[in-house]
């Protein structure tokens, strides 16, 4: 045998061995691609995944982090076309029932025994289940509440009860406003979008006894209740709100509140941990909390509920590994891990009863009880008063709502910017909504 042949033989041998080794590795290692949204809790989870990969050395994680709206478009397109790009998707509570009914999600029936599904908050579990089957695991949940400056309230001589009415809010806003010092009584969302100003205005409508549709899918913007909602919203914002509020969303209001420019801010409960964080907030020591307001005589506190969940697309090739990851990320064990690393204040809120029963969490998070009360008050099966043909919360759980909600949101934002009055805005909203809902065929059956 010549040297050349020997060398070639050895090279081939090595090649085959290396190939086999690689194939062996490829078989053993599963790579999960996880699509997620860019927010503080999700980023924290990415930083803690070594705990998961140490427990599961055969699973590798690839992250695709995107801005909320980009993510929504991206994962919807992938799941609707069965593109198979993601093994775990971060989706909102709005998508879960719609996608589950389409058969796009894998039912989470492979969760480990110690996952303790019964520990999930009842309203959260309800919102993520279809026919009693859980289709997505909650990563964190939020409702909405009033955050207010206790020092300003005291100075102005007003008290904000734990369960305020909209009249209480108006009185307090008037008393706290001091435009000379750049302090505005109330900050609310004005930026158009179904998840922006319409989240607030829909919740406000629920708490006024207004509804989006009646049982025949007729839009209800021509009702007296909606007239009161929009008129009061515009009055509050025009008289006691910050200038340019039609462009303010969550972040803008957060920044205003943190800099001491808002007397009250009604928004997602998750904001509580930001406004009480002494590192970023100038008013961290003087923030009080109250439940989302209601109109006198209406037993409805807005029914605002948002949950970021982890779900596994149907037909995923790696469903088992994906469910293992989902179970880890939404488990009690993960909450403990966050507390260990970053303190109890940073624990993902609003999903598990055990967290709210934990005295350490209660002490570290002064907003814990109000957050829990707000979430527990939510009923996603009957978000609005009166008979309604839909489920939902601060949104209507139908696929067309994103488009309709955004169109109506643009109209209301224009009214806030002074381009039309409440009556014109409601008329426009009525026409748009009815046209779209008829086109989608809801009223015809």
């Amino acid at each position: 045998m010549t040297i050349k042949r020997t060398l070639m033989g050895s090279a081939a041998g090595f090649g085959i061995a290396a190939g086999l080794a690689t194939a062996g590795l490829a078989q053993d290692t599963t790579t999960l691609t996880i699509a997620t949204v860019n927010n503080g809790d999700m980023i924290r989870m990415q930083g803690l995944t070594s705990d998961f990969t140490e427990q599961h050395p055969n699973i590798e994680l690839e992250w695709v982090t995107l801005e909320e709206n980009v993510l929504r478009q991206r994962v919807t397109q992938d799941i609707a076309t069965q593109g198979g790009q993601f093994d775990v998707m971060t989706i909102g509570v709005y998508e879960v029932p719609i996608w589950a009914e389409q058969g796009w999600l894998t039912p989470l029936d492979d969760l480990p025994e110690d996952y303790n599904t019964d520990d999930l908050l009842p309203s959260i579990r309800e919102a993520l289940s279809v026919d009693g089957q859980l289709y997505a695991a909650p990563f964190y949940g939020e409702s909405a509440m009033v955050m207010y400056r206790t020092d300003l309230a005291e100075e102005a001589g007003v008290t904000i009860p734990d369960q305020p009415t909209w009249s209480d809010i108006k009185t307090a806003a008037e008393a706290m406003t001091n435009e000379d010092e750049g302090i505005y009584g109330i900050c609310l969302r004005g930026k158009p979008g179904w998840g922006e100003n319409m989240a607030l205005i829909s919740a406000m409508a629920n708490s006024y006894g207004a509804r989006w549709f009646d049982m025949d899918w007729q839009a209800q913007f021509d009702s007296e209740a909606w007239n009161e909602v929009l008129t009061d919203y515009l009055d509050l914002m025009n008289n006691y709100g910050p200038p340019g509020a039609a462009a303010n969303g969550f972040n803008e209001n957060l920044s205003l509140f943190q800099q001491g420019k808002c007397g009250m801010w009604i928004d997602a409960t998750v904001a509580a941990s930001f406004v009480t964080d002494p590192e970023d907030s100038q008013v961290a020591d003087s923030v009080g909390f109250a439940q989302f307001p209601n109109k006198e005589g209406v037993d409805n506190h807005g029914n605002w509920l948002w949950i970021w969940t982890l779900a596994v697309p149907a037909g995923s090739q790696q469903s088992e590994a994906a469910q293992e990851f989902v179970a880890w990320a939404t488990s009690q064990e993960y909450t403990n891990l966050v507390a260990e690393n970053e303190g109890w204040r940073a624990a993902p809120p609003g999903t598990r009863t055990s967290l709210y029963e934990n005295p350490e969490y209660q002490e570290a998070a002064p907003f814990a009880q109000m957050t829990l009360n707000s979430i527990n008050a939510v009923d996603t099966t009957a978000p609005a008063e009166g008979e309604i043909p839909y489920t939902g919360a601060q949104y209507v759980a139908i696929p067309e709502f994103q488009g309709i909600g955004t169109a109506v949101g643009q109209t209301f934002s224009a009214a806030l910017a002074g381009q039309m009055d409440a009556e014109q805005a409601l008329q426009a909203a009525q026409q748009t909504t009815q046209r779209e809902i008829d086109r989608a065929g809801y009223g015809s059956n």
Binding site: T33, N38, G40, E68, R74, G83, Q85, S255, L256, D280
Partner: protein
């Protein structure tokens, strides 16, 4: 004949030019400044311009959280790859249209341009399905193909405009001297059209580098370029302005530097043919 320009007019013109330049550049400057602020300072009202505690914390966070190098390499491969393939197709096409035009040349040019008039989202789902079936989702080659096709009309149009400025007589003379088609294009046409080709190349690299619709929609983890890197730092709920600015600065720096060094070619190429 050159017009006489008074010192006063000159001063006014200079001032106007500087004002416009600063206005155009200001958002980029603001992004760069914000990237050195803390999240709290980034949202301060009134905004702070220069006097704040400068920090590199955002860059460190971004570097720790995402793989900049992987996104950067994807951007380089996708933008350069699609531009080179585009030029390889565009040069012969533009040669044919400029020097041997047929009856339908004008119509073909207009038709090519018309493909740019369709909103991209209109073909998103069909293209996504094709990519899924051909296994091209989240691959660099898939994005190179798409970006080549998207930018091809611009490449052909730009090259066509430059080639038309080159006198046909020179090419004819080369032919008379016995040059083959290949030598005519390589040794006669291309050297004369270098400024035009260079500016087409640069402009298309910039366009492909900044393309954010297809690059976001057709990628996931493997082929995602810097546009996806930026998108991962934007958030409607939570404060990420300083980190977003740091990510944006890192993403635009390479293309800004490239643009800075090649501005002479870019301006020369873009104004080529403006004066006859």
């Amino acid at each position: 004949m050159a017009r006489a320009v008074t010192t006063k007019t000159k001063a006014i013109n200079t001032a106007i030019a500087w004002t416009i330049a600063i206005l155009i550049f200001f958002p980029i400057l603001w992004t760069v400044l914000t990237s050195f602020k803390s999240e709290g300072t980034a949202i301060a009202d009134p905004p702070v311009f220069l006097f704040f505690d400068w920090t590199l914390e955002n860059y460190a966070t971004v570097q720790e959280r995402s793989s900049y190098f992987r996104h950067f390499m994807n951007s380089v491969v996708i933008s350069v790859g699609s531009t080179i393939i585009g030029l390889a197709i565009g040069i012969p096409a533009a040669w044919a249209m400029a020097f041997v035009p047929g009856k339908q040349t004008k119509n073909v040019l207009m038709w090519m341009l018309s493909t740019k008039m369709l909103p991209p989202v209109g073909v998103l789902v069909p293209l996504y399905l094709i990519f899924r079936d051909w296994g091209l989702l989240d691959t660099r080659i898939g994005l190179i193909i798409v970006l080549t096709l998207i930018n091809l009309p611009i490449i052909v149009w730009m090259l066509y405009t430059y080639f038309r400025e080159i006198p046909n007589d020179i090419l004819e003379a080369a032919r008379m001297d016995g040059a083959t088609l290949r030598s005519e294009v390589i040794y006669v046409l291309l050297p004369m059209a270098v400024p035009g080709i260079a500016s087409t190349l640069l402009l298309n690299i910039i366009l492909a580098w900044n393309e954010a619709f297809w690059t976001l929609n057709l990628t996931a983890a493997n082929a995602a370029p810097l546009t996806a890197f930026i998108a991962s730092y934007s958030s409607p709920e939570g404060l990420f302005y300083a980190k977003l600015s740091a990510a944006s600065t890192m993403a635009i720096a390479p293309i800004l530097i490239m643009g800075w060094f090649s501005q002479k070619q870019l301006v020369r190429g873009l104004t080529f043919g403006a004066v006859k």
